[in-house]
């Protein structure tokens, strides 16, 4: 164990109780509570802070305020229905939850997914990365006092949400990616909607950079703030932009490709400073790469089925039910009971906007998941927040929270 890891272990060992006991009015130390209702905590994140004047000595996340037992709920749904539960976990990146879950179920089923479905999924996932990063960009700016960033970020996000609505029927919690493919084919005119986004985004990202990247106030608030070292990030299991901002050159899309990522070329942005600004640069660069990936996927979009057409797994086309008794039987079985998945377990991870999002699925051979555990990157990354803010100013804590980009729906599940 390295000295950093030892230090981390010692701090963790002090625990919540030890933290509150260290309150000492004589030495001017103060314990305060930030959240769970606070505009800069991105949801219901509660932080216990030990302050020495304005210096943060210690910061402990207290979570669970949004816990609704989603993993337990999955066990009461059939395999298709659980998609609608997992999509509600990380609500800014719902398609990644569906993707990881569906890939895990497909692995247990041992079925093929048609290439068009893989491309649609990858396209929507990259769209989702854009929309999620746009919210992060807006809130990061807002937390640093740049109110207009929020407006710009949400303006472009609206374009993407309109595209979701056109494709899936909903703006969030889509339930669109299902085991075996996607629920519906892309609607007519989707190319124009995608082209509209990919044409605008590079210009918009340029605007964002003009607003924040070179902004002296923003630089002042983010450079050298919330630093985490490479060893700390590795020990604390940080993934995604947090890890890539300390020089851990790892991206599941490139290093362990899944779905259609093998067929597209893109760069993985890396920074080494490990501060808020490095994470900012990594995420903005990732947005550019996402646009590149979307353009390639659109040009290469194959034709064919959009889901596995095995009648035991997927609902029959509406027209077929008018003249085929078998189709009616399949429809009835799928709607009332669902399909069975062979007994076994699978762990599949995808690269979500926040890092590795994994789904661990166990089946007992029945029609509903026996266990459905989701490894949410926000939950794991939150542990590194304490290490970012220790010794910094209270005002800088807000910058660090925004750059960790925690989604409490994913943290608490």
């Amino acid at each position: 164990m390295s000295t950093t890891e030892k230090l981390i272990h010692e701090v963790e060992a002090r625990g919540e109780g030890a933290f509150v006991e260290s309150f000492d009015p004589q030495e001017g130390r103060m314990v305060i509570n930030m959240g769970p209702v606070h505009p800069s905590t991105h949801g219901v994140l509660r932080l216990l802070l030990e302050l020495d004047g304005e210096i943060v000595n210690e910061c402990l996340p207290v979570i669970g305020y949004l816990h609704t037992g989603m993993e337990k709920e999955c066990e009461d749904n059939n395999w298709r229905g659980a998609v609608t539960i997992v999509t509600r976990m990380d609500y800014l990146a719902p398609l990644f939850n569906e993707q990881a879950y569906s890939m895990a179920v497909e692995q247990l089923l041992g079925i093929e997914v048609p290439p068009r479905a893989l491309y649609i999924r990858t396209l929507l996932a990259e769209m989702n990365r854009l929309s999620s990063h746009l919210v992060w960009w807006g809130t990061q700016g807002l937390d640093m006092g740049a109110m207009s960033a929020m407006f710009y970020g949400f303006r472009e996000r609206e374009l993407i949400l309109d595209f979701y609505e056109m494709v899936t029927g909903l703006r969030m919690n889509h339930g669109y990616i299902i085991p075996g493919g996607v629920w519906e084919d892309l609607p007519p005119g989707w190319e124009r909607a995608v082209r509209n986004i990919t044409d605008q985004m590079p210009r918009r990202i340029k605007d964002y950079e003009a607003l924040l990247t070179e902004n002296p106030i923003f630089l002042e608030r983010t450079k050298g703030i919330g630093v985490i070292t490479r060893e700390e990030a590795r020990a604390l299991g940080a993934t995604g932009p947090i890890a890539r901002a300390v020089g851990i050159d790892w991206d599941l899309r490139r290093d362990m490709p899944y779905e259609a990522y093998d067929d597209v070329s893109f760069d993985v942005p890396i920074a080494t400073e490990g501060d808020v600004y490095a994470r900012y640069r990594v995420r903005v660069a990732e947005m550019r790469e996402s646009v590149k990936i979307i353009e390639q996927l659109m040009d290469k979009m194959p034709s064919g089925d959009f889901k596995n057409m095995d009648p035991k797994l997927t609902h029959p086309p509406r027209a077929e039910m008018a003249h085929s008794m078998e189709a009616v039987i399949h429809h009835f079985k799928l709607s009332t009971q669902g399909y069975q998945v062979p007994a076994g377990e699978a762990y599949v991870a995808v690269e979500s906007p926040r890092g590795e999002l994994g789904a661990y699925i166990v089946s007992d051979g029945g029609t509903s998941p026996y266990r459905c555990h989701v490894r949410d990157p926000s939950f794991v990354n939150l542990q590194s927040l304490s290490h970012m803010v220790r010794g910094g100013l209270l005002a800088d804590l807000v910058a660090s929270i925004a750059s960790t980009d925690p989604i409490m729906g994913g943290v608490d599940r």
Partner: protein, 165 residues
């Protein structure tokens, strides 16, 4: 690749894996009550990744004893801290040597572990403070006009004397 370990050998194995460059990605508890074989009842499932080899592996650790226990690996991989707390909270698996094994998602005073298969879903009593529906303790406050004697039955309902049940 999946391997199974007993709790006794797990900590040494974890240190060796850590030295080989394996990183902890996920740790989840599993209640095997309705799976075959159902013994041991609880299993801790660990997902590891190795960036150099670009490989993953899954490790099952059998939880033994009462309460079902496995050694904590949060000193080997500090990231296990939250994950072990989650497994303890939702499944009641005891992690020996964990620095701060407390509930993380459920309220601190919660009884039971919700992800266990024998946890009664829908059988949780609703939290409320029982109160009688009507307070009649002073004479003259009787709700019936002719002043017949009343009392509250065991459900807190007003019963007028003389009424046939």
């Amino acid at each position: 690749m999946t391997t199974t370990h007993s709790p006794g050998e797990w900590l040494d194995r974890a240190r060796a894996l850590h030295a080989e460059g394996w990183q902890l990605m996920d740790l989840a508890g599993l209640d095997r009550l309705r799976l075959a074989p159902a013994d041991p009842r609880f299993v801790v499932v660990v997902q590891l990744i190795n960036h150099e080899l670009k490989q993953r592996q899954t490790i099952h650790i059998r939880a033994e004893g009462d309460p079902s226990s496995v050694p904590s690996i949060s000193e080997v991989w500090p990231t296990a801290n939250f994950m072990e707390r989650e497994a303890y909270d939702l499944l009641g698996i005891n992690f020996e040597g964990h620095p701060n094994l407390t509930r993380i998602l459920m309220p601190d005073q919660w009884e039971g572990h919700p992800l266990r298969k024998d946890y009664g879903v829908g059988k949780v009593p609703v939290e409320f403070i029982p109160q009688p529906l009507l307070q009649i303790d002073a004479p003259g406050q009787s709700p019936n006009a002719d002043g017949a004697a009343t009392h509250l039955d065991h459900l807190g309902q007003v019963v007028i004397e003389g009424d046939a049940p």
